[in-house]
């Protein structure tokens, strides 16, 4: 092993690119996935026939998006990324694929977390004359907060591995570095460092997430 050949500047740039991808795609995943999860939760327990049909369709679409391997989804979305971001490579080019890959996954986690909220508390709020919107904002989201934060943590960690995979189609960041140097050029030192950085990143994210969950748990 000879670590002296490593271009640390490039390593730093790649790390920043990875962090950028995770941050941007993470934010959009939450913006898209949270309402989707709430809607899945609300429609999933409706008695209305039309809403039940809509729920089934939506649920089916979410399941499809979740079952397509990310690498294939990524390739399939190249034209879409190009259309909305102007490019399909680099940090920006991978964002649409990351968000579309992670949002349905996150939505399911949101739905599950909301289902954990005690039925009795919702009933009490209904009894007090709360509207559905008030129940979502003032009961469901605050009560499910630890579960939602755990869901965000899992999703962000998943995004780390997704960003690494995006190196295959020309996305930037540490994954790209590991693939280009380590896989194509047999420079295993670069690959090793890149992977180590990602391991550290995942550990830090998980620790931060666990801490937040603990902070907001009142039971």
């Amino acid at each position: 092993m000879d670590f002296s050949t490593i271009n640390w500047e490039e390593m730093l740039e790649a790390t920043i690119a990875t962090l950028k991808m995770i941050a941007i795609s993470g934010i959009f995943t939450i913006i898209l996935g949270l309402p989707l999860g709430i809607v899945l939760y609300l429609w999933g327990k409706s008695n209305n026939v039309i809403i039940r049909v809509v729920y089934s369709v939506l649920s089916f679409v979410v399941n499809i998006l979740r079952s397509v391997p990310f690498i294939i989804l990524m390739v399939a979305l190249i034209p879409f990324s190009k259309a909305i971001m102007g490019t399909s490579i680099g940090v920006l080019g991978t964002i649409p694929a990351l968000v579309i890959g992670a949002a349905p996954f996150f939505a399911r986690l949101v739905e599950t977390a909301l289902r954990e909220v005690d039925r009795g508390i919702i009933e009490a709020a209904q009894g007090m004359g709360a509207s559905t919107g008030q129940i979502v904002m003032r009961v469901l989201l605050p009560e499910a907060r630890p579960g939602l934060l755990a869901g965000v943590t899992i999703t962000v960690v998943t995004l780390v591995s997704y960003t690494a995979m995006s190196g295959m189609i020309g996305g930037g960041g540490l994954g790209d570095l590991a693939i280009r140097y380590g896989y194509y050029r047999y420079e295993k030192e670069v690959m090793l460092i890149s992977v180590a950085l990602m391991v550290i990143l995942v550990q830090l994210l998980q620790m931060a997430g666990d801490r937040l969950v603990r902070h907001f748990t009142r039971k």
Partner: protein, 338 residues
């Protein structure tokens, strides 16, 4: 105040149908504490949830304070529900909010101002005796304290009606009594109509003015608590009262034991001030009639004292009969057993 008209509630569809309530009607007066007692599965939970339409009846009308709730749109119903407070067996507090925020919850729903909320919540904290605990989370409170928060929350929107869904069933006897006392205070202080459901006769006896016995989805008996409690008619009612008083095996033996001479066993019921009077000994004095007390209870129904004695009279036939007539004339309720 509350009128339930021919309420029917059917759960499920087709062959899985289960009828929880069948054509049940009930009328509750303003300012009274009305108890509904029944075994689990009798439909009492469904009944109380039909009053604020947490359960929508399959058929029938629900009227509260002159408004037909069953005819309202969702938005109008939400408005009306604010006048109906509810407390629950498992309290149903927001675990993520403090005592203060839990009590403020109904006020925030209607967009009340910060000062108004603070004033109201402080009043309510004082009313339920939780001033020191305002900043705690429900998980840090005892069951009784949680129910006090529940009561304060239910009162925050100044309701006219308070629904109590097995509110004391998860509490120990001592805490139960303190919560019942609080409910009674609230009832007299705010002229609040209280509807409670329970499976404990003790709860009914302690605070209710009137009671209805529910069984198999219908009301089998109802009336003033003293009336129903002292002279139960339906088998289910008798069962509830027996479990509250005594097992009657040994008593039956004492009554049935053959005695020489003329005897008569009767159940004498005292109500109100007569409970503590000496009517019985005054009446038998000088008649040559003697008596043995086989069983006796002295207790209260809400605040009214009552006594129930099972007494065997012995003596000349005419004197015994005259004694019984005199007891009735004195205003006691006399029921001949044997």
């Amino acid at each position: 105040m509350i009128e339930l008209k021919d309420i029917t509630k059917v759960y499920g569809k087709g062959s899985k149908q289960a009828t929880a309530l069948s054509a049940l009607s009930l009328s509750i007066k303003k300012g009274e504490i009305f108890g509904v007692i029944g075994h689990s599965g009798a439909g009492k939970s469904t009944l109380i949830r039909c009053i604020n339409l947490l359960e929508r009846p399959t058929a029938g009308e629900v009227w509260v304070d002159g408004v037909e709730l069953t005819a309202l749109s969702q938005g109008q119903l939400q408005e009306q529900r604010r006048k109906i407070g509810m407390i629950f067996q498992h309290f149903n507090l927001l675990s993520s909010a403090t005592v203060y925020d839990n009590i403020a919850f109904p006020l925030r729903l209607i967009g009340a101002g910060r000062n108004e909320i603070e004033q109201k919540v402080k009043e309510l904290l004082a009313l339920v005796g939780l001033e020191e605990h305002w900043n705690k989370y429900p998980a840090q409170l005892s069951g009784g304290q949680k129910q006090r928060v529940g009561i304060a929350r239910a009162l925050a929107s100044d309701p006219d009606v308070l629904l109590c869904d097995e509110a004391t069933s998860a509490l120990d006897p001592q805490t139960t009594d303190s919560i019942l006392r609080l409910l009674m205070d609230i009832n007299s202080k705010f002229h609040l109509t209280i509807v409670l459901i329970t499976h404990e006769m003790h709860v009914i006896q302690s605070i209710c003015d009137r009671v209805a016995v529910i069984h198999g989805g219908g009301i089998v008996e109802q009336g003033e608590v003293a009336e129903v409690f002292l002279k139960p008619k339906h088998e289910v009612t008798k069962e509830f009262i027996r479990s509250e008083t005594q097992s009657d095996g040994p008593l039956r033996q004492a009554i049935d034991a053959v005695q020489p001479g003329y005897t008569k066993s009767v159940k004498i019921t005292f109500l109100g001030q007569k409970t503590y009077g000496s009517t019985l000994s005054q009446v038998v004095q000088g008649t040559g009639v003697h008596f043995a007390i086989l069983h006796g209870t002295i207790s209260t129904i809400k605040d009214v004292p009552y006594g129930q004695l099972i007494v065997r009279f012995e003596g000349p036939e005419g004197a015994v009969e005259a004694t019984l007539t005199e007891l009735i004339a004195q205003g006691l309720d006399v029921e001949v057993i044997l």
